[in-house]
Structures are given as structure tokens and as C-alpha cells.
Amino acid sequence: MDFNLTLIGQSIAMLVFVWFCMKYVWPPMMQALDDRQKKIADGLAAAEEGQQELARARGQYNETVRESREEAAEIIKHAERRSKEMIAEAQQAAVAEGERLIAQARAEIEQEANRAREALRGQVAAIAVQGARQLLGREVDAAAHQDILNKLAAEL
């Protein structure tokens, strides 16, 4: 157990090593560890936030689905009502149109009948004169019997 210069040598070596460790090894390692710690903490916070966000979105989604379902039901109801109305309107229109057409047809028939009657009225005098001429075997003066002929025509 004799002390010698190794004591000093080892002390210097230790001084250098500790200095090196303090300067070049410890800070980067602690930096990496601290950074990782921060990263993990941030990650956990982000996960937590994400979960909350998810819950919020899910609530919103449910709300939206409920609303749209209600809206859809409303629209269907409305459409049904509207279609019934339209069918009723169409029926009414059809009935009115039918009646109108029938009335028109009647008017036309009436007109036609009148026109035929009018035409017939024109010819009835000539036919009656002709008939009487053959019946009497002589010329009948149409002008002399104009009032009788007119009465006959009016009876048609």
C-alpha cells in the first residue's frame, strides 16, 4: 500500500472524464429524455382531446340523424297530403271539363238541328207548292198563298 504519482494521474483522468461527461454526455441524454417525456405527455393529451372530440362528433351525428329523420317524415307527410290534393283537383278538373264538353256538344247539336230546321223551312214552301200543284193538276201561285206557306213552315 504505497502511494505514488498514480494518485495524481488518476485524479487528472477523473477530472477530465467527469468534465467530458458533464459537457458532452449528460446534457444530450437528458435533453432526449425530457423531449420524449414531453412528447408522450403531448401524445396523451392529444389522445384525450381526440376522444372528447369523437364523443362530441358522435353526439352531433346522432342529433343530425334524428333531425333528418324528422325532416324526412315531415316531407313524406307533406307529399302525401299534396298528392291527395292533386288527385282531388285533377278529378274536379276532369269532371268540369267533361261537363263543359257535354254542354258544348249539346249546343252544337242544337245549332245543327236549328240549321237543318232553317234549311228545311226554306224548302218546305217549294215542296208544298209542288205537292199541291200535282194534287190539283194546275199551276198554283206561290205568292198568292204565301201566308199559308209561311204558317206551314213555322209549324216545322
Binding site: 488518476q10 485524479s11 458533464m22 449528460w26 414531453k38
Partner: protein, 267 residues
């Protein structure tokens, strides 16, 4: 065994002899240095510096590429050690000190590596050295009192430095003279008591490490003398020794931290 003509005593003596170089009358002389202070234990210095450089090179390499993302295996190992030391320091010392934790890490890993040399079978490296003409070689630096005392004295200087820094010269002097009995007449008594307590720190620190490792090494050497029976015994003692080398490195580190924490904290 290194030489067949050696007796058991010579064999043990040979294994416990450092490779030394010293200054005698202006010349560097090898291995005739008993009692000469201007001597360097070349083997102790060599292995201690090689191991220290290996430790720092490895850790520096990891530290340079240290990522805060997913660490590799090597980085995970280094981080485990760094965090272990950091936790030990933070549990003991609550102030702000940039030196304490790196000092603890250096001491722990370095002392551990020097102790680890003890697990290499005692004849391997000295045998190899003998073959290339080196007469003596002690491969475990921590079995050299110079190494352990150099470290503990460095710690002791730091203890005094931080004591004075934290409490001032007056406060430090008061601590040495007015405790445990706060009376002017008790000053010499206190001084002796506190002085011994203070000096006991580096001495016990160095001798504990030295004693454990020296004894362990000696037992390895004795086991190596047993012929074929050394194999199971060597294995058993090596397994047990794994515990000792880690424990001693840890104790050295922990006491360093405790002493330095005590030096800086107010009572």
C-alpha cells in the same frame, strides 16, 4: 500459472505486483520503485484510462445520436443508466447542481467497468503480457489503492469546495467547531470529532472499494492455484462477485452523491 518454477507465494506476489515505472536519478526505471513517490503504476493507469475512454466514447456516441423518438437497444440501455443515476441524485439532493449527476454517472460506470476486469480469469491478460515481455500486470485498477484514493480524494476536494460555496468559510468553520457541542470551551473537542468524521469520508470511500476488490481478486488468485478444482469454484465465486462489483460501484456513486448533497444542504 505464469511460470512452472514459481512457488505459490511467488505466484501470488507476482500477481499483486503493479507494473511500475519511476524516476531515479533523472532516469526512468522499470519495477525497482519500492518507496519511491515518483512512480507511476502503468498498468492501473492504462486500464483505468482505456476503460474510461471506452465508457465515454460509447456514451458520447449514443448521446450524439440520441433521439426523443423510439430508442434503439443501446440508447435504451444508456438511458436506463442515466435515469437511474438521475433518480438517485434527485432523491438525495434537492438543489440545483450541474456537476452532481454526471459525476455520479461517471463514477458508477467507470468504477463498474474497472471492477468488471476482475471477472476476467486472473492469468489471461498477465499471461499474454508475459508472452510479449511485460513482467508484471495487474488488470483490475480498483485493486490499486492509488486509484481508489485518487477518486475519493477528488470527491473530498469537491465536498470541501461545495461546503464552502454553500455555507461560506465562516459557516463551514462553524460546522467544524461548534457541533455537536455549541460552547467555546468545546471547540477543540468538536474540531477533533468533526475532523475525524470529515476525513473518514474519503478514507472509508476508498478503502471500502479497494478492500472489496482486492479481497475478491486475492480469492480469484487463490482459486487459480487449485488445479482442476478451480473451475467450479471459480464459477461460483465469479457469480457471487458479479453482485459485489455492481454493489461496490453503486455504493461509491451513492456515497459520493450523499456526501456532496450533505455538503450543500443547510442544517
Amino acid at each position: 500459472m505464469a511460470g512452472a518454477e514459481q512457488t505459490t507465494g511467488e505466484y501470488i506476489q507476482h500477481h499483486l505486483q503493479n507494473l511500475q515505472v519511476c524516476r531515479v536519478d533523472g532516469d526512468w526505471v522499470w519495477n525497482q520503485c519500492a518507496g519511491n513517490f515518483y512512480t507511476i503504476n502503468v498498468d492501473s493507469m492504462f486500464f483505468s484510462i482505456v476503460l474510461g475512454v471506452a465508457f465515454l466514447a460509447l456514451f458520447r456516441k449514443v448521446a450524439k445520436r440520441a433521439t426523443s423518438g423510439v430508442p434503439g437497444r443501446l440508447q435504451a440501455m444508456v438511458e436506463t443508466l442515466v435515469e437511474f443515476v438521475d433518480t438517485s441524485v434527485k432523491d438525495t439532493f434537492h438543489g440545483e447542481n450541474k456537476l452532481l449527476a454526471p459525476l455520479g454517472l461517471t463514477i458508477f460506470v467507470w468504477v463498474f467497468l474497472m471492477n468488471l476486469m476482475d471477472l476476467i480469469p486472473v492469468d489471461w491478460i498477465p499471461g499474454l503480457a508475459h508472452a510479449i515481455g511485460i513482467p508484471y500486470l495487474k488488470v483490475v485498477p480498483t485493486t490499486d489503492v492509488n486509484i481508489t484514493f485518487a477518486m475519493s480524494i477528488s470527491v473530498f476536494i469537491l465536498i470541501i469546495f461545495y461546503s464552502i460555496k454553500a455555507k461560506g468559510i465562516g459557516g463551514f468553520t462553524k460546522e467544524l467547531t461548534l457541533q455537536p457541542f455549541n460552547h467555546p470551551l468545546a471547540i477543540p473537542f468538536n474540531l477533533v470529532l468533526e475532523g475525524v468524521a470529515l476525513l473518514a469520508k474519503p478514507v472509508s470511500l476508498a478503502l471500502r472499494l479497494f478492500g472489496n476488490l482486492y479481497a475478491g481478486e486475492l480469492i480469484f488468485i487463490l482459486i487459480a492455484l487449485l488445479g482442476i478444482w478451480q473451475l467450479p469454484l471459480h464459477f461460483l465465486w465469479a457469480v457471487f462477485h458479479i453482485l459485489i462489483i455492481v454493489l461496490q460501484a453503486f455504493i461509491f456513486m451513492m456515497l459520493t452523491i450523499v456526501y456532496l448533497a450533505l455538503a450543500q444542504e443547510q442544517h
